[in-house]
């Protein structure tokens, strides 16, 4: 079994009275590339900051390479690459200066040629000042600075946030190319499933601070189903099928999002409620994720309700 690189036990964080992370138990083994997904405000950034010791947990603990996150030593930090949300770098520095600054913290680990190659790949010049870079270019510099010391664990907090489609694609391609190195473990947070799908082999879904899923992308795809039931009358009010998550209804149709339900159970429920027929709707991972994490009240927003 591979070594556990990152672990949380009952990790909980309150901001005042607001619960941000709720008893999160997580284990990430060496070599896995995990997509850490959740809607905006789900608690992804808080979890990452707790992992890196930038925030103190209200309860529970987190550790990286077996070292408690609250006491990460410089040696451990040297093995961790962190790409922060928004790619905030020191504005007055040029890329060359930023490289020199970063290099000082990784003696013997800094690969100058690799950095130059990456800057070249992203079509940047070392003479450019950070303050003159676009957010996409800042993201690229940030990625280069983080990857060049070859960290064993790479933690990226929504690295593609705010990037346009073309830059996002280029960034992801660069990232895929570089994380292919053997043994590198990646935790990559995002709210864009398409990005995660391209990179990750494991999906960790968090919603309102609660761990909702921890599985491979294939398992997630197979588990979450959208089923459309057609009726010749008004669909039933009560939905008592196993794995029911949320619904959308029209006059004679009922669309249910179900998780971990077999086709047999769906057929049985259709028969029980007198549905004329049912179809399993083909959806993308993105749609599955949205359905999976959508709050109940959201599906009622566009629903016409009789007085």
């Amino acid at each position: 079994m591979a070594d556990v690189i990152l672990k949380t036990s009952g990790l909980t964080k309150y901001y005042g009275s607001k619960l941000a992370v709720d008893h999160l138990d997580l284990k990430i083994e060496a070599g896995s590339i995990c997509g850490f997904v959740g809607r905006n405000g789900a608690g992804k950034t808080t979890v990452i900051k707790l992992l890196l010791g930038l925030l103190k947990p209200t309860a529970g603990s987190a550790s990286i390479f077996g070292c408690d996150s609250q006491n990460l030593t410089p040696d451990i930090r040297q093995r961790v690459g962190y790409v922060a949300e928004g790619h905030r770098l020191i504005r007055w520095m040029t890329i060359a200066r930023l490289e020199k600054f970063q290099r000082a913290f990784f003696p013997g680990q800094w690969d100058r040629e690799f950095f130059a190659e990456m800057i070249d790949y992203f079509e940047l010049s070392k003479k450019q000042k950070v303050k003159h870079l676009s957010s996409g270019q800042r993201a690229q510099v940030s990625l280069a600075l983080t990857l060049v010391p070859h960290p064993e664990l790479l933690i990226m907090d929504d690295p593609t946030l705010g990037l346009d489609a073309a830059i996002r694609r280029q960034f992801l391609e660069g990232m895929i190319r570089l994380i292919m190195e053997q043994g590198r473990t990646v935790l990559f947070s995002s709210h864009i499933l398409a990005d995660v799908e391209r990179v990750a082999d494991r999906l960790i879904v968090i919603d309102k601070g609660v761990l909702r899923a921890d599985c491979t992308t294939e398992q997630f795809r197979d588990s979450v189903k959208k089923v459309r039931f057609s009726f010749d009358k008004t669909p039933p009010e009560e939905i008592d099928i196993d794995g029911y998550l949320n619904s959308r209804r029209s006059e004679k149709e009922l669309e249910l999002t179900l998780v971990k339900t077999t086709e047999q159970k769906i057929a049985d429920w259709a028969q029980k409620t007198g549905a004329e027929k049912f179809d399993i709707v083909q959806t993308s991972l993105e749609d599955q994720f949205i359905d999976y994490t959508a709050p109940q009240k959201r599906s009622r927003l566009f629903q016409w309700e009789k007085d």
Partner: protein, 230 residues
Amino acid sequence: MKFIALLKKELRECLPFLIGAAVLLLVLGTLFLRLDAPRTYGGLYPDFKPASAINIYQLKQSSSLSLVGSLLWIFSIALGLAIGIRQFWVAFYSRTWDFEICRPTRRAAVLTAKITAAIIGFVLSVGLVWSLFYWYASQSSIWFTPLTGRLLTKGWIFIALGFVVYLGVAVAGLSTERWYTTKLFSLGLVLIVYIACVSEWRLWLILIFLVIGILILLLQVTEKFLNRQL
């Protein structure tokens, strides 16, 4: 290597303030000294000579260098404010705190680099200019008022008070209090130290006030910096 990189970064970020303060103090101080020279020697007060001075206090008050001292007083406060804000407020507003703190080094090293840069800054900027003025005034033959070592020390006390302001601003910047009135509470201590120092004439007592003030604020800065959350 890591510390030097951090120190260089901090010094570079404070450089505009350090150069600005040194140049302005140099220009205005020279102007004060030159304008004041004729006043004391055959100028506005031709009869005022050491022999006609009642006491040493009068002589000291008439010293052109004490005029520069009041400039130094203002510049030290301004520099303390500027460096403190640059080092401890801007990182949160520009959201570069993560980048600074996630370096593979101890937080204490990041803080030490900041404080060391501030001390070097004060010494090399206003400190150097003040010492230069003292040396010039004591060399020159155009001022008849004798220069006392106390005048030089007093200037350095003003500079140290600027450092106290810097620490107070640092504590306020690192504070996570939501209300600005509470956030700026540390400046109250700065004010107490300030009043105690400028209202006291005994040097040893001033030094005690300074040391106590600096120690309290340093402890606060360290505690807040090491435990600061986002």
